[in-house]
Symmetry: C3
Subunit: 139 residues, 3 copies
């Protein structure tokens, strides 16, 4: 019998960069009583985003952060800087990555590959937590 | 009781750039009789794309348009230019942003953050409207 | 009556670049007995990704490959190169494109536009096949 559930996860992001929250997602999935289905994560912000990436190598995370800091740099010049120099680069880095991710659930487990983790990509300073809407459908 | 519905939205995009269509999506959601679920939008084109972005500041929209015009410029050089100089940049800008977005529906409302709007990102000139496939599942 | 099914597709990618697998996805959809619903594809790797793109023009594919090779080049410099010079660029190109795609199913057909194909974007050398988790829900 198909059913669904939803929630809002609050993820702490004490500094800009990649913050893994695979464990929080697994905890939500584990509580849902669903073993086959589809999980969706939606970042409720335009200055933070989602990324599935390598969860083993901290150097890969640092290279990702460096790369996006370079291709969408502070000091653009940008017309929009209402909230400071990290405002517009945050929107650009969000646009280049993902606001939403859906992951199949198979045999009670997220269908993540061996080295895949789920990350919040925080693009701003001084935003201590972020809100991720979560939806699960399955049986 | 779970149910689903689908439709095709036609979005007018009289000029290249970002066109908000959050209101059209809300209208479809409002007619579906579903208050908890998952909404999916799919852009049926390879030279236009979807973006969740800041809906309050026109300057942020202009900066986004300027940025993608710079990182995937006309006059590449590109091998593919069957339909003119804005042909290949349109494919690149689509590849860098999103073809599809799914948004949870909670308490009868899309789980968008306060400042989030849903945009069609038109990358070509002379394409007066675009077709977005919409799917809603929930209860 | 809503129902769901899932599978894992194995896609051969003998060389880096774009590999269309629309036919394999259609075959899975055709076997599911579902004509209205939502199909989700999830790439179980951090060095390959998914892309909906032009399926008619090989030149557009070559331009896409050239573009991503240029914006996320080998020889960065990168801190992370455990698996060689194509390791970190593969993660960056994955981050810039899509790990997951959902496509509505309408009237028994994927809601793809006329020129849209589904591609695996292989970013590494020497990875002969890739694993794509697939989920279908509908009726």
């Amino acid at each position: 019998m198909l059913r669904q559930s939803s929630a809002t996860l609050t993820i702490r992001a004490s500094r800009p960069g990649l913050h893994e929250f695979t464990a929080e997602v697994r905890e939500f999935v584990g509580s849902g009583g669903v073993s086959e289905g589809l999980l969706t994560l939606f970042c409720r912000h335009t200055s933070a985003s989602l990324l599935i990436q390598e969860n083993a190598a901290p150097a890969a995370r640092r290279d990702l952060e460096t790369y996006f800091a370079r291709v969408a740099p502070e000091g653009g010049p940008y017309e929009h800087d209402d909230e400071g120099p990290d405002d517009m680069p945050a929107h650009l880095r969000s646009a280049l990555t993902a606001t939403q991710l859906s992951i199949p659930l198979q045999g009670g487990r997220l269908a993540l590959g061996t080295w895949q983790g789920i990350f919040l990509f925080e693009h701003r300073k001084g935003t201590p937590e972020r809100s991720i809407a979560v939806h699960l459908i399955g049986e």
